[in-house]
């Protein structure tokens, strides 16, 4: 399964939209005082760019992503939703100065949101990000 650049953009766009809606509906309830400096779209985009730019990173991410996709039981739409949801999660858990992934990954593990991919016990966010990398090609 691959995603065209347009589909990917749509995916990320949707992610940003959900993020924006969420932000508008009271992110202050979890106590962040500052607005995030980057949008979800930018953040995920940046990370994706970084990952794709480095051949070693890209290849290992892709391998993991493919394994995740292979074992994924749902439909293509469900998968897209899941990835979008994961990327929202990255964004919504981010303070301006934080590494996006660290927060989201930490939250995943804290909540038991894990998946076994190629034997490794990964957080859903990191597995889905790898899936995104695999799909992005």
């Amino acid at each position: 399964m691959t995603l065209s650049r347009r589909e990917l953009a749509r995916l990320l766009g949707r992610s940003a939209a959900v993020w924006a809606a969420w932000w508008a509906h009271g992110c202050t309830s979890i106590g962040w005082r500052d607005a995030p400096s980057v949008s979800a779209q930018q953040a995920v985009d940046e990370r994706l760019d970084r990952t794709l730019a480095d051949p070693a990173t890209r290849e290992s991410s892709k391998a993991l992503g493919r394994a995740y996709l292979e074992s994924y039981g749902g439909s293509r739409d469900e998968l897209r939703r899941e990835i979008a949801w994961a990327m929202d999660r990255v964004a919504t858990r981010t303070k301006p100065s934080d590494d996006l992934f660290r927060r989201a990954v930490h939250a995943d593990f804290a909540e038991g949101e894990m998946v076994e991919t190629s034997g490794w016990l990964l957080s859903h966010t990191e597995a889905r990000f790898s899936a995104l990398v695999a799909l992005a090609e």
């Binding site: 990370r47 990952t51 480095d54 070693a56 990173t57 290992s60 991410s61 391998a63 993991l64 590494d99 992934f101 660290r102 990954v105 930490h106 995943d108 593990f109 804290a110 038991g112 894990m114 076994e116 034997g119 490794w120 016990l121 990964l122 957080s123 990191e126 990000f129 790898s130 990398v133």
Partner: protein
Amino acid sequence: MFIDGRSVPEGHLVDTDICIIGTGPAGITLGLEFADLPFNVCLLESGDFEPRPEISELNKGPTTGRHGEALDCRERCFGGTSNHWTGWCRPLDAIDFDQRSWVPHSGWPFAKDHLEPYYSRAHEVLGIGPPRFDAEFWKHPEGAQPLPLSPDLVRTEVYQIEARRFGPVYRQRFERASNLSVYLHSSVVELHGRPDSTRVFDVTAKTLEGNSFRVRAPFFILAAGGIENPRLLLVSRSRTNVGLGNEHDIVGRCFMEHPHVNDIGFWVAAQSSIDLSYYRPWDEQEFRAVMGMLVLGREVAIRERRLGFSATLYSRPDEGVRNPLSPSVQRSAADVEDLDTSGLDGSDVREYRCYCRTEQTPNLNSRILLTDDRDALGLPRARLHWELTEQDVLNIREGLRILGRALGEAGVGRLRMPADDLDAGWVGDIAGGCHHMGTTRMSMDPAWGVVDANCKVHGVGNLYVAGSSVFPTCGSANPTLTIVALAVRLADHIKERMR
């Protein structure tokens, strides 16, 4: 006093107040507790001061089901298997004593609190430090810290390690005690009761030279280890033809081991980012060593209906640097503030290993049986049938999953789970630790237990059992500290009855 059983005249009758069968940690602890009190104690020991092949041969017997090494790992000599044990000591956890709805036949007749004072006394017998096992108490001499894992999931505790050889250490004490007589080379071959009585009257001891003698006492304590305790009950048929205490066909059943799994892969971001020194033995002045251990949190065990699980992490110096995962994952792991990631260069990923020890569910099919084949003393050999159930294997995987979750949450690393398949290689590699437990289990209900809360055999007024064979469930901690604590407790009970 030590007496060589081979020099006792054929047919001789020894009259004593308490007869203890076996001088491993259980039997020796009982002897120490009775030393110099105003009654006589006779201890019957199969072996000599040192192991001898012709005596060790009495331990041999076939095994079916899992690995065959289990029966050979015991020692027959004064001091028993402590003469070659590793000395890892840790008490059972409070939850191990509870009735857990997800563990069939679980629940000790008392809570851990009740055993606490006996555990304290057991520490003296074993020569270990204060009865504390928490990481707050045990500071590493070089400041190494336990891993910053969420204690709700996995907490760090310690093992105290002192491989005390009970034989050499306590030999003099037994020599000097006014009331202790240890008969060496004296293997008990039968406990005699009568169909019209609820008592054991005497036991027959035999030597490999061919002579035999009897010991008569008001109290008998079986302390011959987790295989021989049920074997002796099963061969003793003068009272009923099913064996002593076996009216409900429970003697020998529910054999448990601690399944050990080694070499589970686990990965961290960088070699320099994780210090596992707390989980390696470090020297203590008073005794040999202390070593950190990861243990499942009580809450998560209850919530997720898990059995006992403990693990250590270690690095293998021969292993090169690996990069099994996406560096994106690697970065997220390395970003955690608490860990020193200065050595991280993006590709410097090291693989560490995990070793775990778990609890088994009591299973009626795992059991000690008698064979038609007989040993040199004419006693039917024991056969061990040990099974590992699907639940046991699942418990290992799920314990690892919880550990993996804690490692991920703390940003320490990612765990590689073993295959989710009962036929997988790692399942085949699961081994026991020579911890033989459960074969004369404790229960208030005679239908489900061989001994009662005082370790007295149900339906037999004067026969007690000491050792891990009485454990109804076994937690994940090594058994000997609990064996010794229970022996101290049993000694108090008998002293009370002697008054």
